[in-house]
Symmetry: C2
Subunit: 317 residues, 2 copies
């Protein structure tokens, strides 16, 4: 049972949504989102990645939210309000020299995303960000494909680490509510001294339901994005969490304001959400990249062809 | 826990989807759907309403699936296959003289929809259809607004009746998984001698999750529609049930075939699914009619205006 203030919403519209439009959000868009999330009472806004463009080839065309620069951020967010700011980094793509001490940055939280094999390296980064004063999370991606003994090893390292929050990430949108219940139980058992977070995708129309399931089982940090904007099938919609989370005190109206002003027009130009190729990769527990490529092809609505490509042996050979 | 064959899928694409396009489905469409559902192993196909056009004024422009005629049905479905056929009737809109004995009809199941106040009248119809040889269900609509003592009275009548299956219907798409769990528990407790069914809507992106919750708690008949087609926010998608229901033996490929050939082009012409006005009526536990009218107006994307209309006192006076 959720008790008041035991959950925090982390809105990932800019960071995860940037995977849809190559982070081509205007400063006006991000400022308005920040205003609306503040008014709604949303706890965190993830305003982008803090990776280094030097470490990511071919990224010159990306918008500024992919490589957050602290000076740029100061200009964009002129007045810090109640909603805390978060940035994500990837193993091997972040230059630690770019990370200022927290008191010199607008950022409050740095989240380290990694695959299970890189947890040790991720925890070194976590230590460094922690020492510079930030709240930290560790987001283990692609959990649906992780073996139990790998997870056990990771739990040992994590429980000894300084990380504040450990995320259950359903990268492929393939997990069912019962899977979430079981994962939360496992994480809870092995990480008694850590808070938990959940980041769900909507391939099987379960983004919101899985996030609720996590919340009902004691997960505190709940990722979402406005109108569900995020890679492929997108995320748990912020508006649904804000409207329906029990014992919470969020305001829906400002989120609807953002949706009307920016998200509905944006959805006309960019695509995300429940579409059959994403449903198929979710069902198969695969990365959505094949589905994203297919949705960019002239055959994008040939549901059967895509299904056969992924399930019939040698259909393409 | 679901055991094999304890659940049946009832595909409502034609009946509930007809509320979107005024039952303007071609015979080709319905024949192809029947073929695909058979190949998929879906248990029932609800092929329309069996109301009487004499009892429904202003319905002249509706397609034939709104007023199923047995001769027409024999022509349309030339060869009966494994998937059983179902029709729905409404209290006060059905002429019982239209209902042939089952052996002279292609229909196997007749479902009676009613509000809680009409349960007694509905059960009289059920008795009649039962005596003519049909399987029967009672679908109590708008459950979210029913008071406990009303439900208790209804349970008494229902448990003494001949009805085979009693449905939990989330007409407004306003129920959460925990509500479903509680409702199933209540229904189970009072209706020990009846099978249960679930019909969910997708206003809060919970159509599939709520149907799974019902199934996990022992509900046997699970309503859905292909690509989620149904009034307003639509239904639990058949493709997701077919793909993800545990211990089941359905085939997804034929459902994808139907989606590719008919549903994706249809969705380009007709609107259903998760849209903000439907989310708002779902959240407020209201009938979606105001949202449907709003989506037909030039202001259809003015999310805030719609929210204020429904929540701010006297905004329209």
């Amino acid at each position: 049972m959720i008790t008041e203030k035991s959950h925090n919403i982390v809105d990932c519209t800019v960071r995860d949504g940037g995977l849809v439009n190559n982070w081509d959000f205007s400063v006006d868009f991000v400022q308005y989102l920040y205003k609306c999330l503040n008014e709604a009472g949303v706890d965190y806004m993830e305003i982008g990645y803090k990776n280094s463009p030097k470490l990511l080839k071919g990224s010159e065309s990306s918008g500024p939210w992919r490589f957050l620069n602290d000076d740029f951020l100061q200009d964009a967010i002129q007045e810090k309000q109640t909603t805390k700011l978060s940035a994500m980094v990837d193993i091997g793509r972040v230059d630690v020299n770019d990370i200022l001490p927290r008191e010199k940055s607008l950022l409050d939280l740095i989240r380290v995303a990694c695959y299970i094999k890189d947890v040790d390296e991720a925890l070194e980064l976590v230590r460094l960000f922690h020492d510079r004063g930030y709240e930290t999370t560790l987001n283990i991606m692609a959990l649906s494909n992780v073996k139990e003994n790998q997870l056990d090893e990771a739990f040992e390292m994590i429980s000894r680490s300084v990380v504040d929050v450990v995320y259950i990430v359903d990268s492929y949108g393939s997990l069912m509510p019962n899977d979430i219940r079981n994962l939360v139980k496992t994480f809870r058992k092995h990480l008694k001294n850590k808070r938990l977070g959940a980041h769900m995708h909507n391939n099987l129309q379960l983004g919101f339901a899985n996030t609720l399931t996590a919340a009902d089982n004691g997960v505190e940090l709940l990722d979402s994005s406005v109108y569900g904007m995020g890679r492929a099938a997108g995320n748990c919609p912020t508006e649904l969490l804000v409207a329906q989370l029990r014992n919470a005190n969020y305001s829906l109206r400002p989120v609807l304001d953002m949706i009307e002003k920016y998200m509905i027009p944006l959805r006309d130009r960019e695509e995300w959400g429940y579409l059959i190729p994403y449903m198929i990769t979710g069902m198969l527990g695969e990365h959505p990249r094949s589905a994203m490529a297919f949705r960019s092809s002239p055959d994008k609505d040939m549901a059967l062809q895509f299904y056969d490509m992924l399930t019939v042996p040698n259909v393409n050979s």
